[in-house]
């Protein structure tokens, strides 16, 4: 009964979101405020209806209602409760409903807030959001109904893919979707602006928190996915350039470019058409990601529930959601062109360099992901593009980006350098030299790539440090504390986020250069040396899990002096319901580095294969990502740096929005 109510709520949401998508557009065009006010009311109702529907589906999973086809196919009565709940989005239909839920919640929050915005702008934004929601609701209702009942109820479910039964993967999709779907808000802002052909600084100011929220969630979501791959695939790697990973990286790169270019629109009223295009691109790339993952066109280790028939529907959504805005852009874009009133060596110039490099990086990933498919269509040849391509193309672009990252923030708006530029440049160069020399002096034989990476870490770290010191150091007029207080939150957020990249790079380089790996066939009692540790393999034990049987190797880790400091137990698990084997790596993460052990095949006679790693600084990779997201949060919320010409939204929001822009 509850499932039927959930299905009914989903149908209701579809009708309401259609109303939300169509009526306010007419209202805004006619200036009819009564019709425009339908938008927030409908958006909140859609959010409530979808939330009810999603709750009904979760209930089906919690109560193991195997009369529902989805529950029967993806759940099992013996599964731990957390995986019963997370199993709701561990499949195509359920994850689509989660996607819609987050879309609807974003719409609802927008409807509740934004009271300072002109009514027509808000109505149009909500309408665009409503149209996107309508498309996905139709996708769910017509091709992927999660509430289908089975004629004959099975005794138990088929279970969830064991590799997905993992706490990291329970929260990874919701986090990633918060990011993907959050970009729909920036998209809605862009399309609303294209409908009227007007973009001004307030528009960017209102859009920026949405971009930042989406970007932070996307950063965390990608980091979680990478972390999951690290410990679950038992492979020791943390990024594979897999199509599904690329699908999440592309919107992230575009969103990073967008949040930087939106600053230029907000502070200076420049780069308007470019920012609008980036906003469309960022969300389009999240849709493309969905298309790749769900249509099964590209082979991936991550993809589940792929079905070409569903791909048709996603392609149709993609054609409407990207084609129409880009057509609007071709029509309205030229109206948004401003005359550049800044020199190349200005803050604007630095941000343009940032945007160019990020867009090139996006294009590189897009090409690497789609080129095999394109080539196959043209010549019939099938190729695989792997890490060699990305290492040779993506990394240099990112390195150049890091060079600019230290300089850009100390440039002045409009033209020329500030007094801060010279000391920051000197410090950054010194930092680059010191780090590269220091590390290569105690460990020889690096190639040019790692050496450049080390130099960049020093360059950016010292550059940020010098910038902070320049802004904080006491001078005649203000004390340390007084100057610290005056620094706006978005500057602090920028420092934190850029510093997160330094931390991330330290992790990536540390793992890449100093990682030790040892593969052995060991019998109980054997001692294996890895890094400066002695590992004693004392044997294997049978372990009984809630829904699996496991063989666990017992590994005693001792340091140089022979003191026991850790016991690691990597497992090979056989899941009862699914009859699948997985390897569970045992990891002892510390700030200095991770001990990582994997149990392979073998028996007591010939011994067991053990794969042991010591991975220095590897946790810093994800720590850096979290610090980046934290920086985004600090920058998004809190006191902002004043615009060069202060705009007062309270004064007259409507006229402020439609007033001709200074540079136009």
């Amino acid at each position: 009964m509850i499932a039927e109510l959930g299905h009914f709520a989903l149908i209701t949401a579809f009708i309401l979101s259609l109303a939300q998508g169509v009526l306010p557009l007419f209202g805004a065009a006619r200036g009819n405020s009564a019709v425009m006010l339908i938008a927030p009311a409908a958006a909140i109702s859609v959010a409530l209806a979808v939330a009810f529907s999603f709750g009904a589906l979760v209930w089906g999973f919690i109560t193991s209602d195997f009369s529902l086809a989805l529950v029967a196919n993806h759940s099992h009565s013996t599964k731990p409760m957390i995986y019963k709940i997370s199993g709701t989005w561990g499949n195509h239909e359920g994850s689509l409903l989660l996607w819609i839920l987050i879309l609807a919640i974003y719409g609802g929050v927008m409807a509740l807030g934004g009271s300072a915005m002109p009514m027509a702008l808000k109505a149009r934004i909500l309408a665009v959001q409503g149209l996107v929601t309508t498309g996905f609701l139709a996708f769910s209702l017509f091709t992927s109904n999660p509430f289908l009942r089975l004629a004959t109820v099975p005794l138990d479910g088929k279970g969830l893919n064991p590799i997905l039964q993992d706490p990291g993967l329970a929260i990874h999709p919701p986090m990633l979707y918060l990011g993907y779907v959050g970009l729909s808000m920036a998209f809605a802002f862009a399309v609303a602006a294209l409908i009227t052909g007007e973009v001004d600084r307030l528009w960017a100011k209102w859009m920026r928190p949405w971009i930042m929220a989406a970007w932070c969630a996307l950063t965390c979501g990608i980091a979680l996915g990478s972390w999951w791959a690290y410990y679950e695939l038992g492979w020791g790697g943390w990024w594979f350039w897999d199509p599904v990973e690329n699908a999440s990286l592309m919107p992230w790169l575009a969103a990073t470019a967008l949040l930087h270019s939106a600053i230029v629109v907000e502070k200076r009223g420049q780069l308007k058409s470019w920012t609008v295009l980036l906003a469309i691109m960022a969300f389009s790339l999240s849709l493309v990601g969905t298309f790749i993952v769900r249509s099964g066109l590209l082979t991936s280790v991550h993809s589940f529930a792929s079905d070409p028939a569903r791909g048709v529907f996603v392609l149709a959504i993609l054609l409407f959601a990207v084609g129409i805005p880009l057509a609007l852009y071709a029509w309205r874009g030229p109206q948004l062109v401003t005359t550049a009133d800044f020199t190349l060596t200005s803050r604007e110039g630095g941000l343009i360099a940032n945007n160019m490099l990020l867009v090139v990086a996006t294009a590189i990933v897009l090409l690497g992901t789609f080129y095999p498919l394109g080539l196959e269509m043209v010549t019939g040849a099938r190729i695989t593009v792997g890490p060699p391509y990305f290492d040779a193309t993506f990394n240099p672009v990112m390195a150049l980006l890091m060079v600019f990252m230290a300089i850009g923030p100390v440039m002045a708006w409009r033209r020329g350098q500030t007094a801060r530029l010279r000391p920051v440049l000197i410090c950054a160069a010194a930092g680059a030299g010191i780090v590269a020399l220091a590390v290569s002096s105690f460990a020889f034989g690096f190639g040019i790539g790692p050496l450049a990476a080390l130099g960049l870490i020093g360059w950016l770290g010292a550059g940020i440090g010098a910038d902070i010191w320049q802004q904080l150091k006491p001078n005649g007029t203000a004390s340390f504390g007084a100057r610290a207080k005056r620094i706006p939150n978005d500057v602090i957020g920028m420092w934190v986020a850029h510093f997160g990249i330094v931390i991330f790079m330290l992790g990536a380089v540390g793992d890449n250069l100093f990682n030790s790996e040892h593969v052995v066939r060991a019998k109980p009692g054997d001692v294996i040396k890895i890094a400066d540790r002695n590992v004693t393999f004392t044997g294997v034990k049978q372990v009984e899990g809630p829904n699996y049987q496991a063989l666990a190797a017992q590994l005693e880790y001792r340091d140089k002096d022979g003191t026991l400091f850790a016991l690691l137990t990597p497992e090979k698990r056989v899941y009862n319901a699914e009859r699948q084997t997985t390897t569970e790596a045992a990891i002892r993460p510390t700030l200095r580095g991770d001990d990582y052990a994997v149990l392979g095949d073998g028996d007591s006679k010939i011994g067991y294969t053990l794969r042991l790693y010591y991975k220095p600084l590897v946790s810093w990779i994800w720590g850096g990502a979290v610090i980046m997201a934290l920086g985004g949060l600090i920058a998004a919320f809190g006191r902002q740096r004043a615009a060069t010409k202060p705009a007062n939204p309270q004064q007259n929001p409507a006229s402020a929005l439609s007033a001709p822009d200074g540079g136009a």
């Binding site: 469309i280 071709a330 030229p334 498919l373 040849a381 060699p388 593969v519 392979g600």
Partner: protein, 186 residues
């Protein structure tokens, strides 16, 4: 002015091309005409290229330090090009495991490092009778490999009978590999 307007059309055109490619791929997959097994090889019904590669030295293997196709003279052999960095290769590991019970498989690690290959085999199983390291991809060029994974079936005389580019899925096994194996009496 008109030139500037054209530049604003560019994103739409680029998207149109991308959508067309995606649509064609989808149409091909749906209608069943996008079938990687139809890929021709210049070597079909000709002798496989001379191949001599350093062996991926493994514990307990005292055989020679090089592998060659002639090692398998007198029996059919599957030659599988793979790499640890290739995601589809992980997907086809179970299929190779199954095939290894019916036919000898020679693995050629394409543009891969020995330690990565070893780790890959630990993780996904080793169905190969022998593994050659094609570190610079030269052998791949000689065979005309489009990309990993790619599989060739050679008869007892070392003549290429079949080439399959892309991962070996259940469908591929049943539609092409098994019939070809049966034709060779294996």
């Amino acid at each position: 002015m008109s030139q500037m307007r054209l530049s604003f059309l560019l994103p739409l055109v680029a998207f149109g091309i991308l959508a067309l490619v995606g649509g064609m791929a989808l149409y091909g997959t749906l209608s069943g005409s996008r079938d990687p097994t139809q890929l021709p090889s210049v070597f079909v019904d000709k002798a496989a290229p001379q191949t001599n590669l350093p062996r991926l030295v493994q514990t307990g293997s005292a055989a020679g330090n090089n592998i060659s196709v002639t090692m398998f003279q007198g029996q059919p052999v599957l030659v599988n090009f793979f790499a640890s960095w290739c995601a589809p290769c992980r997907a086809e590991a179970p299929a190779l495991e199954m095939l290894s019970k019916r036919v000898a498989i020679l693995g050629i690690a394409y543009k891969d490092r020995a330690e990565d290959t070893t780790a890959f085999l630990q993780q996904y199983g080793n169905p190969f009778q022998a593994i050659g390291m094609d570190a610079d991809g030269r052998t791949g060029i000689e065979w005309g490999v489009y990309g990993v994974p790619e599989t060739y079936l050679l008869d007892a005389n070392g003549v290429v009978k079949l080439r399959h580019a892309g991962p070996l899925t259940r469908g591929v096994l049943e539609a092409t590999i098994f019939p070809a194996l049966e034709a060779l009496g294996s």
